[in-house]
Amino acid sequence: MASLLIEPASPLGPLASGPPLLSHQWNAPITSWASSDALVCRRLDALPCEPRALADLVLSYQERDYWVNMRAVDKRRHEWLLGRCAAKDAVSLLLEKPLGARLPHAEIEIVPDPYGRPRAEGAWSVTLGTQPVISIAHSHGTAVALAALHPGQLVGIDLESLSHRREDYEAIAFSPDERNLLDAIPCDLRQEWALRMWCAKEALGKALGRGLSAGLLAFHIAGAEASTGLLHLDLRSGALAQFPRLRGRSLTVYTARESDFVFAAVIYQQGAAE
């Protein structure tokens, strides 16, 4: 396991100028990836200030307009805002070294691509000639964001709370052989591993950019390593139609539990496995 990959800038260091970071570094999802020198993962567990003030601080004009007009319950509005904060922090840290300064949050705009995958945009992308890739997840008031500097890397992250969950979703979410995998897990760990498997499907769907639109069973869990938390997935039916070059490939997703949350993360190098 690698140690901390990208430290937040020291308050006294030369790169410390610029807007404050709102989220905290969260390395748990990325420490298992060997080539993770250009990855950042950030986490935010609560609103750091009143939501409207936070929106004024971090959102671009268009983002703020979208958020103000969002017809959604407070939980959704707050988590959307937290996710933006975490993602902008992650992108800001990734770009700090190549740009030589930390970008203001509002200059990093998070916009969905035509399939709904978030991407970071801004005038800086022309200067740098690159556009980091990002993935955002939120659950029960916590938001996390994973970002990679190189566009060829596809990243996906998912997070679920262990509280208030029933087991009967397994009948829809998992195929019979995936449920057989769960049956081999001790009873007291079953709920956690079912959530790990669910998060792994979600994270891989996000990394590939189409979510679970091909169907829940199109992301198939072929194996699980209890000691490392690694799950091995392959694509089936609708997902193979979307990504035919991944036929026969095993895709690895890292999962773990941290207090009441289970998370999954995947970093996939485009072309490497094809």
Binding site: M70, Y115, G116, R165, Y169, W198, A214, A241
Partner: protein, 197 residues
């Protein structure tokens, strides 16, 4: 099951949503999206399961567009994340009562995903699927009640039937659309319709 009006389906579905998300039922409106009510991915699964149980229907596990794209092949209905004109034709044919503006101009796949998360879209889908759930036994005319899994059983003669899945119905609709609408319109079809297994 007995024919239910759109309003009756909405009332029942709104209760399911409100209970699952622990919100006031008054917040559930036809134009609202499930994710804007705070639904997370597993909430959507719970809502799906409760809907299947209460309406005695078998929901598809993916959208009609995904099923059609698998059948037609790539780039015919959707290209680079946007519906093609053929894709818009198919969606308009499938959802004649949908808001016409949903399929006007450039339509991104994400816009459709959002459309499929609207309460009103769910209500129409439930109503459509419920038409395939019999209220009377074909053999004796007795009442049908939900049995184990996706099965219905006649209380009078014991005849059992398996409900048709939304996925199966979607595939049938896509095949019929291809034969009757797309093929005559497009002439020599570039890709034969096959559903990836």
């Amino acid at each position: 099951m007995p024919h239910m009006t759109e309003s009756e389906v909405f009332d029942k579905f709104a209760q399911i949503v409100a209970r699952s998300l622990r919100i006031d039922v008054a917040q559930v409106k036809p134009e609202v999206h499930l994710n804007d009510l705070g639904a997370e991915s597993l909430d959507l699964i719970e809502i799906s399961m409760e809907t299947e149980s209460q309406f005695h229907i078998f929901l598809p596990d993916k959208s009609i567009l995904e099923t059609a794209v698998e059948a037609f092949g790539s780039d015919i209905l959707e290209k680079d994340g946007y519906l093609t004109d053929e894709g818009k034709r198919l969606m308009l044919c499938r959802m004649p009562d949908a808001d016409a503006e949903t399929f006007q101009g450039k339509v991104a796949v994400k816009d459709l995903q959002s459309y499929f998360l609207k309460i009103g879209t769910w209500v129409r889908m439930i109503q459509g699927l419920a038409r395939y759930t019999p209220s009377e036994c074909r053999a004796c005319g007795g009442s049908m009640l939900a049995s184990m899994g996706f099965r219905m059983k006649c209380v009078q003669c014991g005849e059992e039937i398996t409900l048709r899945s939304g996925e199966e119905l979607n595939r049938e609709w896509v095949r019929e659309y291809y034969d009757k609408e797309y093929h005559p319109h497009a002439g020599a079809a570039p890709v034969p319709v096959t559903v990836v297994q």
